[in-house]
């Protein structure tokens, strides 16, 4: 049963958690996905495992709030505390089922830019960079990105591809370029969920979050967005999902601030 009072971030976390299948090895990353993993583990994916590039594997979510993946509660009780290169080895072998990547800018083919707005030599904005994003985008079996839905962030083509999605959108672009992983399956924004065709390519609108409209989504999207035949309303967070989110983010550090 759904509740009406939730923040956009809480909805995004709930939606992201539903991307995690039971038994998945999840490359968790930072921020909202840490909560999404915790929610999924406590609901439909009790056999999922989390992998963290800092050098950790976990089954149970950390018992306390995490500001970063390297916070002490994420280490206590870990299944493995090791080197990043060992964690990356598992992903390079194709053992990571799902990865999460935070995006600053994404395009219609799911390419992410977290490096440069404008010319790399004289950028108008220098973004922090790849972190593990490019590794996840290239090597994980499937991945999902979360971002605030703004026209300046969802662009026709990113000027710099930090973490490749489906490249120029041409058939089998990833395979032709030697990328091992399957590519992006969803873009979860503050307004909606975009999804990709089975074989990759261009993103389309799959569901719109409660209180928002297709028209609004199109207006905030930097390209002529394809619309699924049946766009549904994104199922809001259930009470259980909200309870879990608020247990792991008690002060709303991630889910109740702008």
């Amino acid at each position: 049963m759904a509740t009406s009072s939730h923040t956009p971030q809480e909805l995004m976390v709930a939606v992201a958690s539903r991307e995690i299948r039971d038994g998945d090895l999840v490359f968790v990353g930072m921020r909202l996905p840490i909560l999404a993993y915790a929610v999924a583990r406590n609901a439909h994916a009790p056999k999922a495992r989390g992998l963290f590039e800092v050098g950790l594997m976990r089954d149970q979510p950390a018992e306390a709030f995490l500001g970063t993946m390297g916070d002490p509660p994420n280490v206590a009780g870990a299944l493995w505390a090791t080197r990043m290169s060992n964690v990356m080895a598992l992903m390079a072998q194709g053992s990571v089922d799902l990865g999460f990547i935070g995006g600053a800018e994404v395009d219609r083919f799911g390419n992410l830019n977290t490096s440069y707005v404008g010319e790399p030599v004289h950028p108008t904005v220098k973004l922090p960079g790849s972190g593990g994003g490019a590794d996840i985008a290239i090597l994980s079996r499937r991945w999902v990105t979360l971002m605030s839905h703004e026209r300046r962030r969802l662009v026709d083509r990113v000027s710099f591809v930090t973490s490749p999605g489906y490249g120029d959108g041409s058939p089998h672009w990833r395979k032709r370029n030697g990328l091992l992983g399957g590519g992006p399956v969803a873009i979860i924004t503050t307004l909606c969920v975009l999804r990709f065709p089975e074989l990759g390519g261009e993103a389309h609108l799959a569901s719109v979050h409660p209180g928002h409209s297709v028209k609004e989504v199109r207006a905030e999207t930097g390209w002529d967005l394809k619309i699924a035949d049946e766009v549904i309303e994104t199922p809001p967070p259930t009470d259980d999902e909200l309870a879990a989110i608020r247990r792991f983010d008690p002060e709303g550090f991630w889910t109740r601030t702008a």
Binding site: M30, F52, E53, V54, G55, L56, G67, T68, M69, G70, D71, P72, V75, A76, A78, A81, T82, R83, M84, S85, M88, A92, S115, Y116, P120, H122, P123, T124, V125, K126, L127, P128, G129, S130, G131, G132, G133, A134, D135, A137, I138, L139, F160, V161, T162, S163, P164, G167, R174, N177, G178, L179, L180, F253
Partner: protein
Amino acid sequence: MLGKVMAMAEAIRRFVPDHSTVALGLALEPLIPFAAGHELIRQGRRDLELVGPISDALFDQLIGAGCVRRVTAAWVGNVSEGLGHCYRRACEERIPLPLEVRDHSNFSISLALWAAAWNVPSLPTRTLLGSDILRTNPALAAADGLVHVAAVRPDVAIVHVQRADELGRVHAWGPMGITEEAGLAADRVIVTCEELVDPSVTLSDPNRILFPETKVAAVVHEPGGAHPSPVQGFFKRDHAFYRDYAERSRLVDGYLAWLEQWVMGVPDRAAYLGRVDSEALRILRHRMSEPVDYGDE
């Protein structure tokens, strides 16, 4: 005579000259040697090349202070807050100085250090295929469906650890990021530690010793030397401190005021800690590891 213990100021003066390539922040969010970085700033070090994976606020602080000529890293910013404002100003407006950036991913910077550790020109990988990072970083070359990552050999790696002895045997625990390969790749290692312990402690568990002692040039006993980053078993992460830094460093004047308050205006780490409520950050719930038996006879 064999002892490598010295004060932070001496370790930085002797082993990190201008123009050095310095690897630090190698465990990503935990164990960041902030105290050593602040001493680099106080001593006015210049033209450094910083090497790291996801690199939290310390890189931003060193860049803002004008210590850095080049960054070779996977990520530079403020992990819990987002953008690094000094990093942005340096790249976008050349304030305080122009900055050369060699972008990596977390995996590729690790491989660059393994290449140096094994003394080969480069190592191959399947990551970064299809990424424009290949276009902007001359140290990465694509060929035969692989990316060849050129070796990165730091002059010095600076690590903060939980405990070490006077001869440079180091015990660290928790996720290690790229710490091990950086220490093996570097010409030398500066260790800063929460506890300076007797060799009988470190040698009781040689599998936990992180580097060969032959790599370690200096051991600095600097409790709290990683604040505001977390230290497993000792300190929680000071999230509010990162937030305050993010807000105040948004503009140059704010950053300089922050720098004066927390770096230039304090002589050393002890004085710095006197201004932090470190007791509130101290970890009180202990979780001791089960010992193992190195019995031999």
